[in-house]
C-alpha cells in the first residue's frame, strides 16, 4: 500500500525556520516507520536526517513524535499508524537537524541522580547474595533504555526544562530500591529539590510514551512515598 510520510524538517545551516517535507512510500503493514525513513533517505532524499541503530527497540536511538505520540520509529508499525504518518522531533530538546535533537540536556539529568551502585562495603570474593524477591523489587526500572521518550512527553518538563524528568527518576528508582545500594539518601535529597519528583503531576504521558512498558508513574510514586517516609 501507499503511505504518505510527512516529516518536520530543520537544518540550521540553511533554514531560517522549520518546514514540512512529504514523501509517498510503498509499504507493507508490517513495515516499521523506521523502514520508511530509511527508504526515503536511501532513495528519495538523502538529506533527511535521523538517528537509528538496533532497529528493534533496544538501543533507544530513534525516539520521535509519530502521529502526535512519542514512539520509537523501529517499534511503530504501519499497520498501527495507517496511511498517513506524521513525524516530528522530540519536544523540549533543542533540534540539531530534522529528527535529531540535542540529547545532552537529557543525559545531564540522568547523570545528576548518581546513576551507579553506591556501596563502599568490601564485596565478598563471590557474588553478594540477593533474594529473588529483592531483585524483583526494582526489575521494572532496569528495563529503561534512556531513549528520552518519557521525559520529552511530559508537560511538566515542557513547562520547565529544569525538571529532572521521568527517565532520571526511573533510573534513580532502579538504585534506590536495590537492597545492595547505600545511596538512597543522597538520591532522595537530589530528587527532593525544587526540580525533582514533586514537579510530577501524574499526567501519565510518560507511561503511554515508554517503549519498554515501564510503569513509570508507579515508580515515581514509590520514590515520592519513600521520600515522605524518610523525610
Amino acid at each position: 500500500m501507499k503511505v504518505k510520510v510527512k516529516v518536520r524538517r530543520f537544518n540550521p545551516e540553511q533554514d531560517r525556520r522549520p518546514y514540512w517535507s512529504e514523501y509517498t512510500v510503498e509499504a507493507e503493514p508490517t513495515d516499521r516507520v523506521l523502514d520508511l525513513l530509511v527508504y526515503i533517505k536511501g532513495y528519495l532524499d538523502g538529506t533527511l536526517t535521523f538517528r537509528r541503530s538496533c532497529a528493534h527497540g533496544v538501543c533507544g536511538s530513534d525516539a520521535m513524535v509519530i502521529n502526535g505520540r512519542n514512539r520509537l520509529a523501529c517499534k511503530e508499525l504501519v499497520k498501527d499508524t495507517g496511511r498517513q504518518v506524521v513525524v516530528e522531533p522530540l519536544r523540549g530538546l533543542p533540534v540539531v537537524r530534522d529528527l535529531v535533537v540535542d540529547m545532552e540536556p537529557f543525559f545531564r539529568k540522568y547523570r545528576s541522580i548518581l546513576p551507579f551502585l553506591i556501596n563502599d562495603e568490601p564485596p565478598p570474593y563471590t557474588e553478594r547474595l540477593q533474594s529473588p524477591e529483592a531483585r524483583e523489587r526494582f526489575d521494572d526500572t532496569t528495563k529503561c533504555i534512556l531513549c528520552a521518550a518519557c521525559t520529552t512527553s511530559c508537560p511538566s518538563f515542557w513547562a520547565n526544562d529544569s525538571y529532572v524528568g521521568p527517565a532520571a527518576i526511573v533510573q534513580a528508582h532502579r538504585f534506590i530500591f536495590d537492597d545492595r545500594d547505600r545511596g538512597a539518601q543522597a538520591r532522595l535529597a537530589i530528587l527532593a529539590e525544587a526540580d525533582g519528583v514533586w514537579r510530577c503531576r501524574t499526567i501519565y504521558n510518560c507511561v503511554d510514551a515508554c517503549p519498554r512498558e515501564i510503569d513509570i508513574t508507579t515508580a515515581i510514586g514509590e520514590v515520592k512515598k519513600l521520600m515522605l517516609v524518610e523525610g
Binding site: 537544518n11 532513495y43 563471590t126 557474588e127 529473588p132 532496569t142 512498558e213
Partner: protein, 597 residues
Amino acid sequence: MIHRFDVIVVGAGGAGLMAALHASARAKTAVISKLYPVRSHTGTAQGGIGAALGNMEEDHPEWHIFDTIKGSDYLADQDAVKIMCEEAVEMVYDLEHMGLPFDRTPDGRIAQRPFGGHTNNVTKQPVRRACHAADRTGHMILQTLYQQCIKNNVVFFDEYQVLDLLVNDEGRVAGVTALHIDSGELHVFHAKATIFATGGFGRLWKITSNAYALTGDGVAIAYRRGIPLEDMEFYQFHPTGILGLGILLTEGVRGEGGVLINGLGERFMPRYAPTVKDLASRDVVSRAIYLEVRAGRGINGKDYVYLDVRPETVNKYFEQDGIKNPDGTPRRITAQDIRRKLPDISDFCKTYLQLDPIKSPLPIQPTAHYAMGGIPTNVNAEVVVDSRNTVLPGFYAAGECACVSVHGANRLGTNSLVDILVFGRRAGQNAAAYVAHADWPALPAAADGPARAALDAIRGGTGREVVAQIRADLRALMMDNVGVFRTEALLAEALSKLADLKERYRRISIMDKGKRWNTELLEAWELGCMLDLAEVTARAALTRTESRGAHFREDFPERDDVNWLKHSLAYREADGQIRMDTKPVTLGLYEPAKRVY
C-alpha cells in the same frame, strides 16, 4: 583540532567501556564513539554470559574451556581460551559487585541457564552456565559499565565517527582521525596507545541481527593501514532470527526448553545432534535448518522453520528426554515462567510477528550474527601483524572487531560477552602500562589529510550510482553467495560481482553537501568499509578448501586438519589486491577430535 590523550579507546560497547574503565584508572584516557555509549550493540545481547560458577549444578572452568575449543572446531588458540574461561568467573563477580542485576536462585546466588554447546563434560548433557538478567543481559552489562564510567569520570567524545588510524613514518600508531558528526569538523586524536573496540560487521548480509551501526569501520580501517585480518572466512549465522527481519531470538529460548520444528511437525535436531539436540552449537543448528528447508521440510515447503516454546511442547519433550531440575524433580515450565524469563522475546514476537510465543510457534531463519575473525591480537590484546605474531606497539583491539582467537571457527553462545570483558580489561590495563613508559609517537604530517580526502571524494562525486542500491545489492550477494553453504563457484562469482560493486561505488554521488549531521556522507563512507570487508571475507572463504565450524564448503565438506589446522591472514597489498597467508593455531590442551554433539 588536535586532542592529546595517553590512551584513546574507539568504540563504547562492552569491550570499549571495560578498556576505558581500566585504562582511565591509570592514564589520561578518552573514549570516541559514533553512537552514544548506551546505544552500542552489546546492549542487544540477550541470553546470558558464560562462566562456570557452578551455582545450579556441578561445573568447572576446565569444562568451559573444552566446550569452547570443541565449539571452535579446534581453531581457537587454546592459551587464549584458557585465560578467557578462567577469568570469566571473576568477571561475572566483578559485574555483580558493580551492581549488575543478575537474576537470582532461591538462595540468592546468580542464576544460570543452559546454552548451546555448553556441557557437563562427563555426562555430555547441557549444563547451566549462562548467567542471566532475564533476556536483556547485554543491556544490563552495557548500562552497568556505562554507570561505572560515569562514576569514574571517564571522558567521552560521543557521536564522533573514526575515519582513519594514524600510522607515522616509523610505523608507529599515533592515534586516530575522527569526524565530529554534529559540526562536520575533523578532529585529530593524538595518543600513545590506541584501542579499537569497534564491533562487528553483520550489515554485510541481507538478513542480520546486527544494528545499522555495524558496518565494520574499525576492522576496515586497520586493514587499509596494512594490518592483516585473521580468519575472516568464519562468520556466524545465528539459527533463530525472526523471519525476514533477522531480529535475534536468543538461544536462551532453547535453553529454557524451546525446540525447532520442521514443516512435518517434527523436532528435527535429534537427527543432527543426538545428545544435546536443540542445544548444539550454532553452526550445527543453522546448517540443520538449511538442510531441512532444502529437503522440502520447511514450513509449508518455504524457507523457514518454527521455534516452539509453548509450554505444552516444551513439557512434552522435557518428559520424553527425562530432563530434571537440579534437585532431581522433573523439569516443567509454565506460561508464566516464559513471560518472566523471556520478557523481551515475548515483546519482540508481539511487536514484529503479532504472535504470542506462549500460544504460537515462531517462524525463524538463520541470521548473520557474529564475526569470529577480525584484527589479530595476542592474549594481551596487543595487535599482531604477521604469522610470527609480531606486536605493533601502541595498538590494541578487543571484542568482536578483534581475533584473539578465542572463538576459532565458531563461537559458542554467551562467549562474546565473556570475550569483551576479559580482553577489554586486558586491553585497558596493558595500554595503561604501556603509556607509562612509552614516548609520544610523532603525528604524521597533515594527519587528517587522508580522512579529509576520502570525505571530499565522496562529497564531490558526480556519478549516477546510488549508495543505498549498491548496499542492497551487496547485502543480497553476501546472503546468496557467502552465507551458510559455500562453493568455489559461488565464491568466485561473489568476488567478480564485488569487483563490479566496487567499480559502481567509484561513481556514487550524494545529495547532502552540508557539514552538520551529514549522515548521508557517513553512510557512503561506511559502504566503502563494507565493500572491503566483503571482498576479504569472500576471498578468505574461497581460499580455505575445507569445512570447519561456520565455514562450510559443499565442495570440501570435511575438516582437513593436515592442511588447514591454521588461521588465515588477509593482507591488503599496495595495489589494493588481497594476499592470503596462514599462521599456526596454538594447541596444547586438547588435540583436535571429531566434533559430535
